[in-house]
Each structure stands twice: as structure tokens, then as C-alpha cells.
Amino acid sequence: MVLLFYTVVQGVAGTIPRQPVLNETLRNVYFHVPLWFGMMTLMAASVWFGIRYLRGGNIKDDEYSSEFANTAILYGALGFLTGAIWGNYTWGTPIPKDPKIIAVEVGLLIYSAYFVLRSSFDDEQKRGRLSAVYNIFAFAAFMPLVWILPRMTDSLHPGNGGNPAFGKYDMDNRVRMVFYPAIIGWTLLGIWLTSLRIRLRAIKRLKMEQE
């Protein structure tokens, strides 16, 4: 079962995002946009395991939660980077004034704070409980920032503040053929990365217990 999961993820994530279709900056749509979708999914997963930990008290759920947050930070940074490259060519500067960029900077700050909080506890149970509480709390405060604020102010991103969304103009069916699998592929890649780290941690813990 684990092996099957592994091969499916590898197959989807390994080949599809690299398929060249358009020789322009739109190519970035396969990387930048799916990275955001992936980050959102990973954050949601992190919160989900946080809730499960609070309800059940199983230390495994806490490990899942923190590793999902870890990968979410990685995706956030990557998304920021690809966005900066893209923005450099289309908007003229890598970091223009834009509510979504502010939002992601805040998001990265929140999750960095989450890890500082984690590292300040020695007791496993206490650390799990408190960081899960902060995780859920931060997620709830972060979501309005990402979903509501950009729609109220003018944004350079498509789909906000009077700009048309992607779907209308520059997405023909050929692009869509890659775009949707790319979203799934990147998300699954994130989950796979996370599961690797979780397994690594589980092995380490077992080793510690044996010694």
C-alpha cells in the first residue's frame, strides 16, 4: 500500500509539471499557482492534524501536524520565489506593492513563529497541545487576510480588484490539460515529502526507544 502510494506520487509529480507547453512566462503558471494551492492544502492538513491531536492526544498526530507546517513553509518560500521571478518580467519589479504579497509574508512570519514556539518546550505533550492551539488560532486569523483583503483592495493578481481572472483569456484547453494535473501533482508531491519526513521521524523515535 505504501509502495503504491509512493509510485503514484512519483509518477504524477515527476513527469507532469515538467511538460513544456508554452515557451513564455505563462509556463510559470504550472509552478507558481499550483505551489499556492499546495501550500493551502498543506496548511489545512496541518490544522486538521492539530485538531485531531487535541481531540485524541496521540503524539503521532502532532508529528504529522508539524511536518505539514514545515512543508507548507517550504512551498510558501518557493511560491514567493517563483512569483518574484514572474513579477520581475511582467510587472517590472520582483516585489511590487500588492496585498497578496503582504499576505504571504505574514503567513511565513506566522509559521516561523509556530516553530519558535515549538522549540521552546521540552515536554512532548505540552508542546503538542500548545502548538496545535496556536496553529488553529493562527490559521483562523490568517484566512481572512488571504481570501478577503485582496478582493477588497486593488491587486495586480488576476481575478482581484477588477483584473480579469486567468480562465477568461489566456487559458486554452491545452494549458488546462497541464494546469489541473499540475495542481494535483504539486500537492501530492508536498504530501509525499511530508510523509517521508514523518517516516524519518518515526524511525528516529523507534531507535531512541530501543537504545
Binding site: L117, S120, F137, A138
Partner: protein, 220 residues
């Protein structure tokens, strides 16, 4: 209800008994405002409205962080264990939030008064600014109470308090500054319904999440 009332009374009595904390908070605001006064008003005597506004909210934010941090740490572990056996966690968080909101309201209104006296008053729509002040006080109090609860369990409470609360409070702060800016410019009420409703919504989200999550926090 009875329980919450009793707990709020206890908080107020406790605060009253150690007046130095309250006085310290007031002095904190006054001295910060005075520093701003010396550097802006006396030196150049021009201050842009946007700077005026942002400065005020930063002063309020810092005094809020400072005053709410101690809401969990001022009582010893033994006493907290005693409350744990007596009251329900929901009662405790609600009473702490209500009490901190009252404290923030007093602090921010007094701070506002001092600030106006020292730095001049460029506000054109004062009722709206006051509404903004009230919404901000409620929002700061709810968010910071919960974060203070988390941070108080660790060793380096004050550092943790700052890094945990600032990113969370930022969306709220952005909305507040926007709303208060339009109050300063004397825009009508109908232009700002969006901001007011979003602020109310954020307050409601934070309040309900704190209510749900606090029992887990309290157990440790």
C-alpha cells in the same frame, strides 16, 4: 453567568489592589506619547495625517501587548490550579477577555485623549474614530488574551508574546488603520461599512476560536 461575573470582579479587584501595574501602563502611554511629541511637534511641527494615525496605533499596540502579557503570569501556578478546580475554562477565558477589553477600552480612550492634547487633532469624523477605537480595543484584547495564554506556558514569555501575536494581529491592524484613516479624512459612514463589518467578523472569529480552544490550553 454567575461564575463569569464573579471572575471579572476578582480580576478588577486584583488589578485595583496592585495599582502600580495600572499606573505603570498609563505612564507607559504618556511617556511614549511625550517622546513622539518632543520629536515631531517640537522639532518640526508638521506631522502628516498618515504618520499621526500609524504612530497612535503602534503606541496602542505596544501598550496592549505589555498590559495583556501579565494577565496570565501575574498569578502563581498554585493559584491557577485552584481556579482550575473551581471554574470552567470557558468561564475563565470569557471573563479574562471581557476584563481585558475593559482595560483596553480605558487605556485606549485615555491614550487617545492624551495623544490629541499633545499632538493636535486632525480628525474630522470623531464618532467614527471612536467606533474604530472600540472595535480595535475588542480585537486587541481577544487576540492577545489567547496568545498570552499560550505564551505564559513557556519560559521566555515576553519575547514569545511579541513574535506570536504580531503576525496574527496584522490583518486586524491593517483594517483598523484603514478605517481610522477614512475617519480622519472625514469620509461618511456609508463608505466604511465594509471595513467595519470585516472588523466585526474578525473579532467574532477570534472570539469563538478562543472559546473553543481554551479548554485544551487550560488543561496543561
Amino acid at each position: 453567568m454567575q461564575e463569569i461575573k464573579a471572575l471579572i470582579e476578582k480580576e478588577i479587584r486584583l488589578e485595583w489592589r496592585q495599582k502600580y501595574a495600572l499606573n505603570g501602563m498609563l505612564l507607559y502611554i504618556i511617556s511614549t506619547v511625550f517622546v513622539c511629541y518632543m520629536n515631531f511637534k517640537l522639532k518640526v511641527d508638521i506631522i502628516e495625517p498618515i504618520t499621526w494615525n500609524t504612530l497612535f496605533w503602534i503606541i496602542l499596540l505596544f501598550s496592549a501587548v505589555n498590559s495583556i502579557t501579565k494577565s496570565f503570569t501575574q498569578e502563581g501556578a498554585g493559584r491557577q490550579l485552584y481556579y482550575y478546580t473551581l471554574a470552567s475554562p470557558q468561564g475563565i477565558i470569557i471573563s479574562k477577555i471581557i476584563y481585558n477589553t475593559l482595560l483596553m477600552l480605558v487605556l485606549s480612550l485615555l491614550g487617545f485623549l492624551i495623544y490629541i492634547i499633545m499632538m493636535g487633532n486632525p480628525i474630522q469624523n470623531i464618532p467614527m474614530y471612536l467606533v474604530c477605537l472600540v472595535l480595535g480595543a475588542i480585537g486587541f484584547a481577544t487576540t492577545l488574551t489567547m496568545v498570552a495564554g499560550i505564551a505564559s506556558k513557556a519560559e521566555n514569555t515576553s519575547t514569545l508574546m511579541a513574535i506570536l501575536s504580531f503576525p496574527i494581529i496584522l490583518p486586524m491592524l491593517m483594517m483598523i488603520i484603514k478605517l481610522s484613516k477614512s475617519a480622519m479624512d472625514g469620509l461618511g459612514w456609508e463608505t466604511s461599512y465594509d471595513e467595519i463589518s470585516i472588523l466585526l467578523a474578525i473579532d467574532a472569529i477570534v472570539l469563538s476560536i478562543s472559546y473553543l480552544l481554551f479548554p485544551y490550553l487550560w488543561r496543561s
